[in-house]
Symmetry: none
Subunit: 481 residues, 2 copies
């Protein structure tokens, strides 16, 4: 059940052709040789946040398909599925029962009623300490028929009710869910919003040690007997990813998107190389996801000035990129992210975009490509204005016909060819080295069993070249990407 060291795709269940069936079709038709895995974002019945407020994990939302459709994709590709570890839908049978029966509900102990923290609940001072990414305190207020008012812990949307992981009941019910997920063809369970699961009044309730390690070990223990691993999603300074890595867990490289923009905007390898020298090796690299481009993730790796300049360049040179799309007018969920497709962030410059992907694919880790990035999609301001949801700028739903058209574009063809190379050349199974180059050049090399693949990028012209051993003759081949 080991994951293949090949490129993976991140996609909603319905964003490539409308459902899981067409997703499978597109993967097989266009990416059979380019991709080793796929992370299908949540496909369960959900009441909000495009799948991230699941009411159950037993079924697949019928608008996307069936479990059978998921399994058939999992038979062809390394499959990653989501477990919304922090919360469950307000519409779930669990919370609905609790709403109705209060403390008498069999599921009462799954949730974090403020009454659990003593007769006076939680003070406003303590609430103010809690790390939230939305400008409101972390609770939902329940008014019951008898006039009583109860507050329940709720960090994200009001449709997403936090689970109390200190409760044996939560553990027992969620273990069943995790076993079910692990028994499918999925090879990886992504733990959405993992860092918010630890609650201790008086702290910021964010990634609290050692509680966070106990929970992570427990979660992994639920799925490991089925050969499945966990991938905690934490959007924070890179030291968090380093810690996950030190504890032996998979993690994300969410700092690469900003670092690569900076590298290309300012024609300097400096910050990127500092990071590549120390970054975790057992990680997934990204340039884009269904969320925005992370800013907090790069704090400590770039100084404030550099971050500020990169953001400014993105807004002045990017295609259709406006600050307002990442602000409260567009319901932005996370003030630490910029809503923009990666292709638009690079001014829809094909050479810069291919250079960015080449840098990602040559960085240590398993590369993930978000479906909009796969198709070199530009900002979808039409959808954005329709929904007034900033993140929809990077969530265009493609029909099969659109996808067929997009695949004909030279930039997409170049990218697919590069993905095929990354997914199949043996050099990537070996050792990573960084070449000595001037600051405005970049040289990254992989070597394994007599094979090598060496990337060279001119950070001024964005020209990217690849020297590698041919798979049959073993001779060197030079490829302009």
């Amino acid at each position: 059940m080991t994951l293949q060291n090949k490129v993976q795709i991140i996609t909603y269940p319905d964003s490539m052709g409308g459902n899981l069936l067409t997703l499978h079709y597109c993967l097989r038709k266009f990416l059979m040789n380019a991709v080793g895995g796929v992370h299908i974002l949540p496909f369960f019945p959900s009441s909000a946040d495009r799948g991230f407020a699941p009411s159950t994990y037993d079924e697949v939302d019928p608008q996307f398909g069936t479990w059978d459709d998921v399994e058939k994709i999992g038979a062809d590709f390394d499959l990653t599925v989501d477990f919304m570890v922090n919360h469950i839908s307000r519409q779930s049978v669990f919370f609905q029962d609790y709403l109705e029966k209060g403390a008498d509900s069999a599921y009462a102990d799954m949730f974090l009623s403020f009454s659990k923290f003593g007769p006076d609940g939680i003070s406003d001072d303590d609430l103010a300490k809690v790390y939230t990414r939305k400008p409101r305190p972390p609770y939902l207020e329940i008014q019951r028929p008898d006039g009583s008012i109860e507050r329940v812990w709720c960090t994200f949307d009001y449709e997403q009710i936090d689970l109390d992981w200190s409760s044996p009941l939560t553990r027992s019910l969620m273990r069943n869910v995790l076993i079910r997920l692990a028994r499918t063809s999925a090879k990886m369970i992504r733990l959405d919003a993992f860092a918010y699961t630890t609650v201790e009044i008086g702290t910021n309730c964010y990634f609290l040690e050692p509680a966070v390690w106990e929970l992570l070990d427990w979660l992994k223990g639920c799925v490991a007997p089925f050969g499945v691993d966990v991938l905690p999603e934490v959007h924070e300074e890179s030291s968090y990813q380093q810690k996950l890595s030190q504890h032996g867990f998979w993690c994300y490289d969410f700092s690469l998107p900003m670092l690569t923009l900076f590298t290309l905007f300012e024609h300097t390898n400096k910050r990127l190389l500092e990071w590549l020298r120390i970054c975790p090796r057992k990680q997934f690299t990204t340039l884009d996801t269904h969320d925005g481009i992370g800013i907090v993730d790069v704090v400590g790796l770039m100084d404030d000035d550099e971050i500020e300049r990169t953001i400014e360049t993105l807004y002045t040179k990017g295609s259709n990129a406006k600050k307002v799309y990442s602000g409260p007018e567009y319901q932005n969920l996370d003030i630490y992210q910029i809503n923009c497709t990666y292709y638009s962030a690079l001014s829809s410059n094909d050479d810069a975009y291919i250079a960015a992907r080449a840098i990602q694919f040559f960085s240590p880790g398993i590369p993930q490509v978000y479906y909009v990035g796969l198709l070199a999609g530009e900002n979808d301001t039409e959808l954005l204005e329709q929904t007034r949801n900033g993140r929809d700028i990077n969530r265009h739903n493609y029909s099969v016909e659109e996808i067929e058209e997009e695949f004909k574009r030279p930039v997409v063809q170049r990218l697919v060819k590069l993905m095929e190379f990354r997914s199949n050349h043996p050099a990537f199974q070996g050792n990573f080295t960084i070449a000595e180059t001037p600051e405005d050049q970049l040289g990254l090399t992989w070597e394994h069993a007599g094979h090598y693949a060496a990337l060279h990028v001119d950070l001024r012209s964005y020209r990217a070249e690849l020297r590698h051993t041919d798979l049959t003759s073993g001779e060197e081949v030079l490829l302009v990407l």
Copy 2:
């Protein structure tokens, strides 16, 4: 996913023992070594024409079994399933919704309402030009509650409503169906009645180029990513099969049945050899199918006199063969076909029948044997009189007990032995040559990698001999079939 070059069986889901379970049993019990593939005729819920008016492809008709039964057969044999490309059931949710809501139906555009062709619909002159195989114009008249009358394109039975393949909606919905079929263990999708899918008013609406190629490429494109191919069913002059072959598609040899009858009736290899020299190599050969013996298929390969004489001989010497069974009294659907089993057409003469099958198996292509032919079945006039359906003469449903009895008959034993030879001798993977013989003899040879198999048929005595290399010793073996 390449098809094995072995004999295939064509059968209804319920004609070998009553359901898919017993079919699987019979295939494994009697034919494991004789057969490489099976074409199971439509097993979906259907409102007419024994499966050819499917209301859905999501389910297997419970009277036959389940998708699991189909998949288990597909795990043992190269599986071919049908896609009724020309039409869908009048009882489908799609057409029922359209019946109810008319132009307001979400599925309206799937069908060919005459209103699509302008306010006056289609003139009688233009309707008269349409190629139909039934003596009625190609439409169904819908009378709506408000008294309005609408005509909808309908080439076959009134339960079979034609699909509008120029509609993006049809494409999108049917693509999902095709992907589902392709994801099963099926290796081949047979495209039933494919030639009727192109509609252009003022023409005969039959196999219109280039539209027919665009559609065929599109259909193949829907299943190809799953390693599945398509087989268009076209009953027409052999030039149509030649065209399909030139475009790289699989096709049927529907001219072989009449040619072989003529060859055996008149003791001459002339017409048969003319055809074998030029026939497509990537084809499926047949002597019998669930339809009748095709006449139009041989136009151009035999002259009118020869065709007429062959039909006359069939009726005078064949067992229980009467012209009336192919006429309107027996609801004949296709005036270009003769309703008769192949064994009865050859007067139930075992030697002639084995000679005919040997000729088929030595002709280029993958041979298909219809289940009644497998059991050397005679005309079922009892069933025919019960149903008054001419084609039921060749559609006897066998119980498992009957099948066990039939397999004891010498002619069936001889046929199975011949099938085992054809399915396993390596010579058939190689080159085909025609021997120089007198006109009343026939010599066909296959050679591959030092192995050969040479058929010799005396067209007067119907004695068929086989010289071939023994698989272990490599020595020549002479076999009287």
